[in-house]
Subunit: 161 residues, 2 copies
Protein backbone atom coordinates (compact mmCIF):
# COMPACT_ATOMS: atom_id res chain seq x y z
CA UNK A 1 0.00 0.00 0.00
CA UNK A 2 1.24 3.48 -0.80
CA UNK A 3 1.32 5.29 2.53
CA UNK A 4 2.65 8.59 1.29
CA UNK A 5 0.63 11.48 2.67
CA UNK A 6 -1.47 13.16 0.03
CA UNK A 7 -3.65 15.57 1.99
CA UNK A 8 -4.71 16.78 5.40
CA UNK A 9 -7.48 19.08 6.55
CA UNK A 10 -7.88 21.24 9.64
CA UNK A 11 -10.03 24.07 10.92
CA UNK A 12 -9.10 27.09 13.00
CA UNK A 13 -11.16 30.18 13.89
CA UNK A 14 -10.64 31.97 10.61
CA UNK A 15 -8.94 29.33 8.44
CA UNK A 16 -10.22 26.10 6.96
CA UNK A 17 -7.01 24.58 5.71
CA UNK A 18 -6.55 21.89 3.15
CA UNK A 19 -3.02 20.57 2.64
CA UNK A 20 -2.80 18.89 -0.72
CA UNK A 21 -0.69 18.49 -3.83
CA UNK A 22 -0.30 21.50 -6.14
CA UNK A 23 -2.89 21.56 -8.93
CA UNK A 24 -2.69 23.26 -12.29
CA UNK A 25 -5.47 25.66 -11.28
CA UNK A 26 -3.47 26.96 -8.29
CA UNK A 27 -1.76 29.81 -10.07
CA UNK A 28 -5.14 31.59 -10.07
CA UNK A 29 -5.26 31.01 -6.29
CA UNK A 30 -2.09 32.98 -5.70
CA UNK A 31 0.59 30.27 -5.76
CA UNK A 32 3.23 32.21 -7.68
CA UNK A 33 2.36 35.43 -5.85
CA UNK A 34 3.02 33.59 -2.60
CA UNK A 35 6.45 32.42 -3.83
CA UNK A 36 7.38 36.06 -4.47
CA UNK A 37 7.44 36.48 -0.67
CA UNK A 38 10.34 34.03 -0.58
CA UNK A 39 12.73 35.73 -2.96
CA UNK A 40 12.96 39.28 -4.13
CA UNK A 41 14.57 37.94 -7.29
CA UNK A 42 11.40 36.17 -8.33
CA UNK A 43 10.21 37.39 -11.67
CA UNK A 44 6.55 36.87 -12.52
CA UNK A 45 5.59 33.70 -14.36
CA UNK A 46 2.97 33.94 -17.05
CA UNK A 47 0.17 31.45 -16.72
CA UNK A 48 1.51 29.68 -19.81
CA UNK A 49 4.96 29.42 -18.19
CA UNK A 50 3.38 28.15 -14.99
CA UNK A 51 1.51 25.45 -16.89
CA UNK A 52 4.61 24.42 -18.82
CA UNK A 53 6.66 24.04 -15.61
CA UNK A 54 3.75 22.25 -13.93
CA UNK A 55 3.72 19.72 -16.79
CA UNK A 56 7.51 19.22 -16.57
CA UNK A 57 7.26 18.49 -12.86
CA UNK A 58 4.21 16.27 -13.28
CA UNK A 59 6.27 14.14 -15.67
CA UNK A 60 8.59 13.38 -12.71
CA UNK A 61 5.68 11.64 -10.98
CA UNK A 62 6.12 10.99 -7.28
CA UNK A 63 9.77 12.09 -7.45
CA UNK A 64 8.68 15.71 -7.09
CA UNK A 65 5.90 16.88 -4.80
CA UNK A 66 4.72 20.44 -4.20
CA UNK A 67 2.36 20.74 -1.25
CA UNK A 68 0.06 23.74 -0.87
CA UNK A 69 -2.10 24.83 2.04
CA UNK A 70 -5.33 26.29 0.68
CA UNK A 71 -7.62 28.35 2.86
CA UNK A 72 -10.91 26.94 1.66
CA UNK A 73 -12.85 29.97 2.86
CA UNK A 74 -10.90 32.45 0.76
CA UNK A 75 -9.78 29.98 -1.90
CA UNK A 76 -6.20 31.31 -1.54
CA UNK A 77 -2.94 29.39 -1.23
CA UNK A 78 -1.45 30.51 2.09
CA UNK A 79 1.61 28.23 2.40
CA UNK A 80 3.67 25.92 0.24
CA UNK A 81 6.83 23.85 0.07
CA UNK A 82 8.33 21.21 -2.20
CA UNK A 83 10.37 18.06 -1.97
CA UNK A 84 12.17 16.12 -4.65
CA UNK A 85 13.63 12.68 -4.30
CA UNK A 86 17.22 12.07 -5.32
CA UNK A 87 18.15 8.49 -6.20
CA UNK A 88 21.73 7.63 -5.27
CA UNK A 89 24.15 4.82 -5.95
CA UNK A 90 25.32 5.27 -2.36
CA UNK A 91 23.75 3.50 0.61
CA UNK A 92 22.72 0.49 -1.42
CA UNK A 93 20.83 2.69 -3.85
CA UNK A 94 19.30 4.97 -1.23
CA UNK A 95 17.01 7.94 -1.73
CA UNK A 96 17.31 11.42 -0.23
CA UNK A 97 14.52 13.98 -0.02
CA UNK A 98 15.46 17.61 -0.75
CA UNK A 99 13.06 20.19 0.68
CA UNK A 100 12.94 23.51 -1.16
CA UNK A 101 10.93 26.72 -1.38
CA UNK A 102 8.99 26.66 1.90
CA UNK A 103 6.98 29.85 2.43
CA UNK A 104 3.99 30.97 4.49
CA UNK A 105 1.93 34.01 3.53
CA UNK A 106 3.06 36.92 5.72
CA UNK A 107 -0.54 37.46 6.87
CA UNK A 108 -0.66 33.95 8.37
CA UNK A 109 2.74 33.55 10.03
CA UNK A 110 3.11 32.56 13.69
CA UNK A 111 0.40 29.92 13.40
CA UNK A 112 2.60 26.87 12.80
CA UNK A 113 1.67 26.60 9.13
CA UNK A 114 5.37 26.34 8.28
CA UNK A 115 5.80 23.40 10.64
CA UNK A 116 2.81 21.68 9.09
CA UNK A 117 4.18 22.14 5.56
CA UNK A 118 7.66 20.91 6.54
CA UNK A 119 6.19 18.04 8.54
CA UNK A 120 4.09 17.03 5.55
CA UNK A 121 7.12 17.02 3.24
CA UNK A 122 9.28 15.19 5.80
CA UNK A 123 6.59 12.49 6.16
CA UNK A 124 6.27 12.27 2.38
CA UNK A 125 10.02 11.67 2.02
CA UNK A 126 10.01 9.05 4.78
CA UNK A 127 7.02 7.20 3.29
CA UNK A 128 8.78 7.32 -0.10
CA UNK A 129 11.66 5.29 1.34
CA UNK A 130 14.23 8.06 1.82
CA UNK A 131 16.88 7.43 4.47
CA UNK A 132 17.06 11.16 5.19
CA UNK A 133 15.58 14.49 4.16
CA UNK A 134 17.73 17.62 3.93
CA UNK A 135 17.34 21.34 3.34
CA UNK A 136 19.36 24.54 3.31
CA UNK A 137 18.43 27.59 5.31
CA UNK A 138 19.77 30.76 6.85
CA UNK A 139 20.97 30.55 10.45
CA UNK A 140 18.01 32.61 11.70
CA UNK A 141 15.73 29.70 10.75
CA UNK A 142 17.81 27.10 12.60
CA UNK A 143 15.51 26.93 15.64
CA UNK A 144 12.42 26.71 13.44
CA UNK A 145 13.81 23.69 11.62
CA UNK A 146 14.98 22.13 14.88
CA UNK A 147 11.33 22.21 15.97
CA UNK A 148 10.57 20.38 12.73
CA UNK A 149 12.99 17.58 13.70
CA UNK A 150 16.08 18.73 11.78
CA UNK A 151 19.68 18.99 13.02
CA UNK A 152 22.43 21.23 11.64
CA UNK A 153 24.77 19.07 9.65
CA UNK A 154 26.96 20.86 7.09
CA UNK A 155 27.42 24.12 5.24
CA UNK A 156 25.83 25.02 1.94
CA UNK A 157 28.01 26.60 -0.72
CA UNK A 158 26.82 28.16 -3.97
CA UNK A 159 28.15 29.38 -7.29
CA UNK A 160 25.97 31.93 -9.09
CA UNK A 161 26.10 32.34 -12.86
Amino acid sequence: MDERPVKGDSQEDDLVLSLRRLEISDNAKGFVDLLSQLSSATTPLTDADFRARFAELAALGDNHFVVVAEDRRSGRIVATGSVFLERKFLRGGGKVGHIEDVVVDSAFRGRHLGQRVVGFLRDYAKASGCYKVILNNTTDLRSFYEKCGFTEKNIQMACYF
Copy 2:
Protein backbone atom coordinates in the same frame (compact mmCIF):
# COMPACT_ATOMS: atom_id res chain seq x y z
CA MET B 1 23.39 24.06 -30.19
CA ASP B 2 23.70 22.07 -26.99
CA GLU B 3 26.87 23.33 -25.37
CA ARG B 4 26.75 21.17 -22.29
CA PRO B 5 30.11 19.53 -21.63
CA VAL B 6 30.04 15.81 -22.27
CA LYS B 7 33.68 14.80 -22.05
CA GLY B 8 37.24 15.96 -21.64
CA ASP B 9 40.57 14.16 -21.98
CA SER B 10 43.98 14.83 -20.48
CA GLN B 11 47.29 13.10 -19.97
CA GLU B 12 49.69 13.17 -17.05
CA ASP B 13 52.78 11.09 -16.35
CA ASP B 14 50.97 8.04 -15.07
CA LEU B 15 47.32 8.84 -15.86
CA VAL B 16 45.45 9.13 -19.14
CA LEU B 17 42.19 10.60 -17.97
CA SER B 18 38.88 10.63 -19.74
CA LEU B 19 36.08 12.64 -18.12
CA ARG B 20 32.77 11.40 -19.45
CA ARG B 21 29.24 10.44 -18.53
CA LEU B 22 28.70 7.32 -16.43
CA GLU B 23 28.07 4.22 -18.54
CA ILE B 24 26.29 1.03 -17.59
CA SER B 25 29.55 -0.91 -17.87
CA ASP B 26 31.26 1.27 -15.24
CA ASN B 27 30.36 -0.82 -12.24
CA ALA B 28 32.92 -3.37 -13.47
CA LYS B 29 35.45 -0.51 -13.55
CA GLY B 30 35.11 0.17 -9.84
CA PHE B 31 32.44 2.89 -9.77
CA VAL B 32 30.51 1.65 -6.73
CA ASP B 33 33.75 0.64 -4.98
CA LEU B 34 34.93 4.22 -5.42
CA LEU B 35 31.73 5.59 -3.86
CA SER B 36 32.40 3.47 -0.78
CA GLN B 37 35.33 5.85 -0.06
CA LEU B 38 32.75 8.62 0.39
CA SER B 39 30.54 7.08 3.01
CA SER B 40 31.18 4.32 5.50
CA ALA B 41 27.45 3.66 5.45
CA THR B 42 27.54 2.57 1.83
CA THR B 43 26.32 -0.96 1.46
CA PRO B 44 27.38 -2.87 -1.64
CA LEU B 45 25.14 -2.72 -4.70
CA THR B 46 24.66 -5.86 -6.71
CA ASP B 47 25.25 -5.45 -10.41
CA ALA B 48 21.50 -5.92 -10.95
CA ASP B 49 20.76 -3.12 -8.46
CA PHE B 50 23.34 -0.91 -10.14
CA ARG B 51 21.74 -1.49 -13.54
CA ALA B 52 18.25 -0.81 -12.18
CA ARG B 53 19.35 2.50 -10.63
CA PHE B 54 21.26 3.39 -13.79
CA ALA B 55 18.07 2.90 -15.82
CA GLU B 56 16.02 5.03 -13.40
CA LEU B 57 18.52 7.87 -13.69
CA ALA B 58 18.82 7.50 -17.46
CA ALA B 59 15.07 8.04 -17.65
CA LEU B 60 15.66 11.53 -16.21
CA GLY B 61 17.65 12.40 -19.33
CA ASP B 62 19.80 15.51 -19.05
CA ASN B 63 18.26 16.37 -15.66
CA HIS B 64 20.72 14.05 -13.97
CA PHE B 65 24.35 13.67 -14.94
CA VAL B 66 27.01 11.49 -13.31
CA VAL B 67 30.52 12.28 -14.50
CA VAL B 68 33.34 9.78 -14.10
CA ALA B 69 37.07 10.16 -14.62
CA GLU B 70 38.43 6.95 -16.12
CA ASP B 71 42.13 6.21 -16.15
CA ARG B 72 42.38 4.73 -19.60
CA ARG B 73 45.62 2.94 -18.82
CA SER B 74 44.17 0.92 -15.94
CA GLY B 75 40.54 1.05 -17.06
CA ARG B 76 39.54 2.12 -13.53
CA ILE B 77 37.18 4.91 -12.46
CA VAL B 78 39.31 7.20 -10.27
CA ALA B 79 36.90 10.10 -9.58
CA THR B 80 33.23 10.89 -9.87
CA GLY B 81 30.51 13.38 -9.01
CA SER B 82 26.90 14.03 -9.97
CA VAL B 83 24.58 16.93 -10.59
CA PHE B 84 20.83 17.02 -10.89
CA LEU B 85 18.80 19.91 -12.15
CA GLU B 86 15.90 21.18 -10.07
CA ARG B 87 13.17 23.06 -11.93
CA LYS B 88 11.60 25.80 -9.84
CA PHE B 89 8.57 28.04 -10.07
CA LEU B 90 10.77 30.75 -8.55
CA ARG B 91 12.93 33.11 -10.59
CA GLY B 92 10.68 33.00 -13.61
CA GLY B 93 10.86 29.22 -13.72
CA GLY B 94 14.59 29.01 -12.99
CA LYS B 95 16.75 25.92 -12.68
CA VAL B 96 19.24 25.06 -9.94
CA GLY B 97 22.01 22.47 -10.18
CA HIS B 98 22.61 20.30 -7.12
CA ILE B 99 26.06 18.71 -6.94
CA GLU B 100 26.27 15.46 -4.96
CA ASP B 101 28.63 12.57 -4.26
CA VAL B 102 31.98 13.96 -5.35
CA VAL B 103 34.84 11.59 -4.58
CA VAL B 104 38.40 11.01 -5.76
CA ASP B 105 40.14 7.67 -5.28
CA SER B 106 42.44 7.97 -2.26
CA ALA B 107 45.40 6.85 -4.40
CA PHE B 108 44.97 9.85 -6.71
CA ARG B 109 44.23 12.74 -4.35
CA GLY B 110 46.24 15.96 -4.38
CA ARG B 111 46.28 16.07 -8.19
CA HIS B 112 43.32 18.41 -8.71
CA LEU B 113 41.03 15.66 -9.95
CA GLY B 114 38.34 16.89 -7.54
CA GLN B 115 38.54 20.40 -8.99
CA ARG B 116 38.20 18.99 -12.49
CA VAL B 117 35.13 16.93 -11.53
CA VAL B 118 33.46 19.85 -9.75
CA GLY B 119 34.37 22.24 -12.57
CA PHE B 120 32.88 19.84 -15.09
CA LEU B 121 29.62 19.62 -13.14
CA ARG B 122 29.52 23.40 -12.56
CA ASP B 123 29.97 24.01 -16.29
CA TYR B 124 27.31 21.42 -17.09
CA ALA B 125 24.81 23.20 -14.81
CA LYS B 126 25.66 26.58 -16.33
CA ALA B 127 25.31 25.29 -19.89
CA SER B 128 21.99 23.71 -18.90
CA GLY B 129 20.59 27.14 -18.03
CA CYS B 130 20.85 27.02 -14.25
CA TYR B 131 21.12 30.39 -12.48
CA LYS B 132 23.20 28.78 -9.73
CA VAL B 133 24.69 25.50 -8.64
CA ILE B 134 24.81 24.47 -4.97
CA LEU B 135 26.25 21.76 -2.77
CA ASN B 136 26.61 20.79 0.86
CA ASN B 137 29.92 19.97 2.48
CA THR B 138 31.75 19.77 5.77
CA THR B 139 33.62 22.89 6.88
CA ASP B 140 37.00 21.23 6.26
CA LEU B 141 36.21 21.24 2.53
CA ARG B 142 35.32 24.95 2.46
CA SER B 143 38.62 26.09 0.98
CA PHE B 144 38.56 23.34 -1.64
CA TYR B 145 35.16 24.46 -2.88
CA GLU B 146 36.22 28.12 -2.75
CA LYS B 147 38.95 27.18 -5.22
CA CYS B 148 36.19 25.69 -7.37
CA GLY B 149 34.34 29.05 -7.41
CA PHE B 150 31.86 28.46 -4.59
CA THR B 151 30.98 30.75 -1.68
CA GLU B 152 29.56 29.76 1.68
CA LYS B 153 25.91 30.70 1.72
CA ASN B 154 23.71 28.91 4.25
CA ILE B 155 23.59 25.97 6.60
CA GLN B 156 22.44 22.49 5.74
CA MET B 157 20.08 20.71 8.13
CA ALA B 158 19.04 17.08 7.99
CA CYS B 159 16.48 14.72 9.45
CA TYR B 160 17.48 11.03 9.41
CA PHE B 161 14.85 8.29 9.40
